[in-house]
Amino acid sequence: MIEFPPGLILILGALPVPFLRGPVRTIWMLALPVAAFVLLYSLPEGNHFAISAFGQQLELLRVDGLSKVFGYIFLIAIFLGVIYSLHVRAIEEHVSGLVYSGAAIGAVFAGDLVSLFVYWELTAISSVFLILASRTPEALAAGMRYLIIQVGSGVLLLAGLIMIWHETGSIAFEHIGIESVGGVLILLAFGIKAAFPLLHNWLQDAYPQATPTGTVLLSAFTTKLAIYALARGYAGTEELIWIGAVMAAFPIFFAVIENDLRRVLAYSLNNQLGFMVVGIGIGTELALNGAAAHAFAHIIYKALLFMSMGAVLHRTGTVLASELGGLYKSMPFTTVFCIIGAASISAFPLFSGFISKSMILSAAAHEGHYFVWGVLLFASAGVFHHSGIKIPFFAFFAHDSGKRPKEAPLNMLIAMALASALCIGIGVWPSALYAILPFHVDYVPYTDSHVLSQVQLLFFSALAFTVLMRTGLYPPELRSTNLDSDWLYRRVGRSILQYCVQTVGSMHSGIYDLVVRRCKRFVEQLYRHHGPHGIIARTWPTGSMVLWVAILLVTYLALYFIDIF
C-alpha cells in the first residue's frame, strides 16, 4: 500500500500545472484530489509517514477518525473548487488553490506541532494569491492585511509550540489545553484563523475581495482547519463554549445591514463557525461529532453559496444587494442552487445543515447549557434570516434591477450541481456522514418533534421577514461601509488625533505637529544615516576604515588586559 501524505500529492501536483494546457490540465487537476481521496480511503488508522528534522520525528500522516473526516471534506472541497474554476485562465489562481488546499490537508494530517506550523504558514502564504488575483487596489490592500494577520497567527503558533516543546520535550500535537502559557498562545493562533470574536475581521475584510473562484476555496479551508485544530487541541475547554456563543450571535447583526452579499456570507460563515466552536467547547462525543459533521456539511453549502454569488459576480460584476434583483429570470439554475445552499445553511429538514447543527444543539441541551442553547437557537433563526432569505431574495428576486446576465458558465453549474446534490444527499441519508465521524453515533435527527420544531422556527422567522418587509421596517439595502473591529487598526490612529482635536482643542495643532514632525524627523534621520547616501551606507575612505580597525584593536586590548588586573 502507498503511504504518502495526501496533502503533498496536491502540493507537488500543483507544480506541473503551469506547464499544462487545455484538457490535459483539466484532467490533471481533477485527478489530483481523486487520487488523494482514493489514497486516503485506503489508509488504516495510525502514523504512516515520518521524517526526522530538528532531531525530532515529524509525523506527516497521522490518520484517525478526526483527521480522516476533515481530510475527506477538504478533498471534496478542492475537487468542487477545481471544477468551479476551470474557466479561469490565470494560472496563479490554479496553482495557489491547489497548494493552499494541499497545505490545509497536510495540516490536518500533521501529527506534530512543527509540521502543523509549517503547513499553517503555507496556507496563509498560498491563499493570499487568491485575493491578490483580483488585481484591484482594494484587494491588494486587503490581501496584505490578510497576510499580516495570518502570518501573525503562525508566529503565535510558533512561539507557543516552542514553549510547549521546552516544557514537555515533546512536539506531538495532542490535547493542549490552556493550563500553560504556550497553550494560551496556541489557542490565540488557532483563534485568529477560526475568527474568534474581535480576531475575526480579516475574514470579512479579505474574503469579499478575492476573485469569484478564490472565495469559494478560501471559505472552505482556513477556518475549518482552525476548527480541526481546536477540536484536536482544545476539546472540552469550557471557555470555548462562550466564545462560540458570541461568535454565533454577533455576526448576524452585521449581516442584516450589510450590502455586499459576499460579505454577508462571510458574516454567516463566522456565525456557523460559532456553532462548531461551541461543540468543541462542550467536548462530549456527541458535541465533537456534531462539530465535525457541521464542518463537513458547512464546507459544502458555504462553498455552494459562495459559488452562486461568484457566478453572479462573474456575470454582473457586482454583488451589492442594492444593485441586484430579478436575476432568477436569466439565471434560473444558479437561483435554484443558491436556494438549495440557503436551505442547507438554514438547516431545513432534508438538507445537510439540519442533521449536523441539531447535533450541536442537542449536545448543548444534554450538558445543561440552556442559555447557550438559547443563543444558538436565536442564531439559527438569524442565519436563516440573512443567509437563507436575504441572499437569494436580494440577488435573484426583490425588485427587478433590469440586469439580464447570461446563465453561469457550464463548469460553474456542474460544480454547483454537485455541491447541491451533496447538500441534499447528506440531508436525506445522514447515516453516510455519521459513519465517518470520529466517534460512534447513535443520534437520530429525524424525529417528528424535532422536525416540527425546526420548521416552526424557520417559518416564523420567515414570517417575521415578511411582516417587516411589508411594513417597511426592514432596513433598506444601502451602499455603505459598515465598521467592524478592523476599524481599530484601520482608523484608530487618526481617530485618536481627532479626539485630541475635540478635547484638547487648541493644543491639537501643537500635538499633531509634534507627532508628525517627530515621525518625519525620525524617518529623515533614518534616511540620512541609512539611505543610499547616508553615513552608514556611504563608501568610506580607506583611511577611516583603518581608523576603525585601530579603534577596535585598542578596545579589545584594553578589554582583555582589564581582566588581568
Binding site: R89, S134, R135, T211, I252, F253, F254, V256, I257, H314, R315, T316, G317, G326, Y328, S330, A365, Y370, W373, L377, F378, A381, G382, H385, H399, D400, G402, K403, R404, P405, K406, T447, D448, S449, L452, S453, V455, Q456, L457, L458, F459, F460, S461, A462, L463, A464, F465, T466, V467, L468, R470, L473, Y474, P475, L478, R479, T481, N482, L483, R490
Partner: protein, 94 residues
C-alpha cells in the same frame, strides 16, 4: 482577465413585470406563508414533543422564539448597530 468577465448584460429590460413582481402575487405568497405558519402551530397539538429542558415543550415555543428573535435581530441591527457603524462607502479610501 477580469474585465472581460465582467460584462454586465443590461440589454433588453422587459416592459412587462414578471409574475413574482406583481403586487397581487406577492400578497398571495404572503398569505400562503401565514396559513402555513398557522398550520405548523396547530401541529403542536398533534405531535407529542419530548421536551428536553421543560420550557421548550410549551405550546408555540419555537414559533414565538423564531418570530421574536428575528424581529429583535432586525430591529437591533437597524436601530442599534447601523447608526453606530454605518459610514460612507469610500470611508477607508481617503
Amino acid at each position: 482577465m477580469r474585465e472581460e468577465q465582467l460584462k454586465p448584460d443590461n440589454a433588453a429590460v422587459p416592459a412587462q413585470k414578471g409574475w413574482l413582481e406583481r403586487k397581487e402575487n406577492v400578497t398571495k405568497i404572503a398569505w400562503a406563508l401565514y396559513v402555513v405558519c398557522a398550520i405548523l402551530v396547530l401541529l403542536d397539538f398533534l405531535i407529542h414533543r419530548h421536551a428536553e429542558m421543560g420550557f421548550d415543550g410549551n405550546f408555540g415555543f419555537y414559533g414565538a422564539y423564531g418570530f421574536i428573535g428575528s424581529v429583535f435581530l432586525v430591529l437591533v441591527a437597524k436601530y442599534g448597530l447601523r447608526p453606530i457603524v454605518k459610514r460612507s462607502e469610500d470611508y477607508y479610501d481617503d
